[in-house]
């Protein structure tokens, strides 16, 4: 049955992906110091990503949630709500943020995997997501893709990315960190997309359409030299220049 479309707006049920900021300490200055240490060098890292504040790891301690929200705002994260246990809702709901309900992501490629216990941190690797999906865990973790990536599919990893299947012509793998591909790379690979010049691309069979590290790219228009084409290769930046060199797998 089709919904009657209203001319001015529609209300729909939908699922939104956010980061989870899992609070493990009530010490605000510690939280700030750690955030600064990890992300100050890349101020654009979160680029206004939305985030939910997860309090469930704090057992009996309390933390002023609005202050956490303000802190996250400084790092360009945009808090949209609070995830809390029933006992915590009493004190945590006094601020400005609403509670949001959390549904743990199930890994679509592994139906047999048991869902996480509700109080455990989300530890399962996310399934190959569509465009710009972010992991439930805060950045810097490694995403593992074990299915082949076909033409038209795109993967974004907020940290490092490991791909075990083939990356076809017309597929795109993007990571804030490094990219490791244990199969032929025939599509595009973009590492260090938030400006990390240290990011690298590793690949066991190098036949790409395009490679890029921190925005510096090379297409297949200029043929790749024979010593790297189809070979195990690493790609890195050296003073704003892409260096493509064979891997010595000894």
């Amino acid at each position: 049955m089709s919904h009657k479309k209203l001319p001015y707006f529609e209300l729909r049920n939908s699922t939104v992906d956010t980061l989870l900021f899992i609070v493990k300490s009530t010490d605000l200055s510690e939280l700030r110091a750690e955030l600064a240490r990890r992300y100050e060098a890349t101020p654009g890292f979160f680029a206004n990503d939305v985030v939910a504040i997860d309090l469930r790891r704090l057992e009996n301690e309390r933390i002023p949630v609005d202050d956490v929200a303000a802190l996250l705002n400084e790092f360009r994260l945009r808090p949209i709500g609070i995830v809390a246990t029933e006992a915590q809702q009493e004190w945590a709901g006094k601020g400005n943020l609403p509670f949001v309900e959390l549904r743990e992501r199930r890994d679509a490629s592994k139906p047999a995997a048991a869902p996480d216990a509700p109080d455990a941190p989300p530890a399962t690797p996310p399934s190959p997501p569509p465009v710009s999906e972010s992991t439930a865990k805060v950045a810097a973790t490694t995403m593992v893709i074990d299915k082949p990536l076909r033409s038209g599919q795109q993967i974004y990893a907020p940290g490092d990315l490991v791909v075990l299947g083939l990356v076809s012509f017309g597929a795109e793998v993007i990571a804030a960190g490094s990219i490791h591909i244990y199969a032929p790379l025939r599509g595009r690979a973009l590492a260090g997309v938030h400006g990390d010049h240290e990011a690298r691309i590793f690949c066991t069979c190098f036949e790409p359409e395009l490679i890029a590290v921190a925005g510096i790219y090379r297409t297949a228009e200029n043929p790749l030299p024979d010593n790297v084409l189809g070979k195990p290769v690493q790609v890195r930046l050296n003073q704003e220049k892409l260096i493509i060199e064979p891997l010595r797998l000894t």
């Binding site: 049955m1 089709s2 199930r106 890994d107 679509a108 490629s109 592994k110 139906p111 190959p128 569509p130 299915k147 082949p148 990536l149 076909r150 033409s151 038209g152 599919q153 083939l166 076809s168 012509f169 017309g170 597929a171 025939r186």
Partner: protein, 271 residues
């Protein structure tokens, strides 16, 4: 248990409908009750290939919109008694194909005891193609030995692993079979066409068969006879092999090597 098989490719003109007709007929010839559904609303062709275009009264869209019941719309094939064809509508808009409607048709066919439901997908990656693959358990990916067809098949493989019911519900993935059609060993040996190994190297899925390029396919289509019925032709044998492999038999590949014509053949002409 009913098995739903989608015949798909992304690219048009590679032989999806020819394959759907021959594959469904091949299953029926082996005694399996089979239905073949044309999902190409607005550009229906399956009825022509199956030679039943004059017997179309109701179609898939009539059934979906409850203007006819499934028994009225199903056309019994004249050659095999286990084969039924559900034609597409030629006059309706392709938006008439709805998710709920297709689901109901498929559930009803399951209820009628069909063993196999073959879904003939339209070309492209729009809603018609997505609906044709949505309920599939297995997929025949029809590919020609040329780069654009291979790339489109790759795209379709990506959709099979992300957009189908099995993928969305996290069940076992749709089982993918690669079927290479219009294969011409001579042109492959001359480097004009991609070879079997090239295609498999790119797509990396299991090969279910190779159908050689042949004039008899066109003759068959014009007469409304699915290629699998063209006794004695290499195409018919290739499709029979495909059906046999699909049913779990072990058959060596045929018609994939180029044999230079001998002296007599050269003297007396080779078409």
């Amino acid at each position: 248990m009913t098995k739903i098989i989608v015949v798909t490719s992304g690219k048009g003109g590679v032989g999806k409908t020819t394959t759907s007709a021959s594959f469904a007929a091949g299953l029926a010839l082996r005694g399996h009750k089979t239905a073949v559904i044309d999902f190409d609303v607005g550009l229906r062709n399956l009825d022509l290939i199956m030679g039943c275009e004059r017997r179309v009264v109701y179609d898939l869209i009539n059934v979906i919109q409850e203007e006819a019941n499934l028994n009225q719309a199903l056309i019994k094939d004249k050659k095999c008694e286990n084969l039924f064809i559900l034609p597409a509508s030629q006059t309706r808009d392709k938006d008439a194909l709805t998710h709920e409607g297709v689901e109901k048709v498929i559930t009803d066919l399951q209820g009628m005891g069909f063993e196999y439901i073959v879904c003939d997908s339209p070309a492209g990656i729009e809603s018609g193609a997505l609906l044709a693959m949505h309920f599939a358990d297995e997929a025949l990916i029809v590919t020609n030995p040329e780069v654009s067809s291979v790339r489109d098949s790759d795209r379709i493989l990506g959709m099979l692993s992300s957009k189908t019911k099995r993928a969305i519900e996290g069940k076992d993935p749709v089982k993918e079979h690669l079927l290479i059609t219009r294969y011409n060993p001579k042109r492959v040996s001359e480097g004009e066409m991609l070879s079997l190994t090239d295609i498999q190297e790119i797509l990396r899925i299991e090969l279910i068969g190779v159908v050689p390029e042949s004039e008899s396919v066109l003759h068959g289509s014009n007469q409304g006879v699915p290629a699998v019925h063209l006794e004695g032709t290499d195409v018919a044998m290739a499709y029979q092999d495909v059906v046999a492999r699909f049913l779990g038999e072990d058959k060596p590949l045929r018609f994939t090597d180029y044999q230079k014509p001998g002296l007599l053949k050269r003297l007396f002409g080779n078409k």
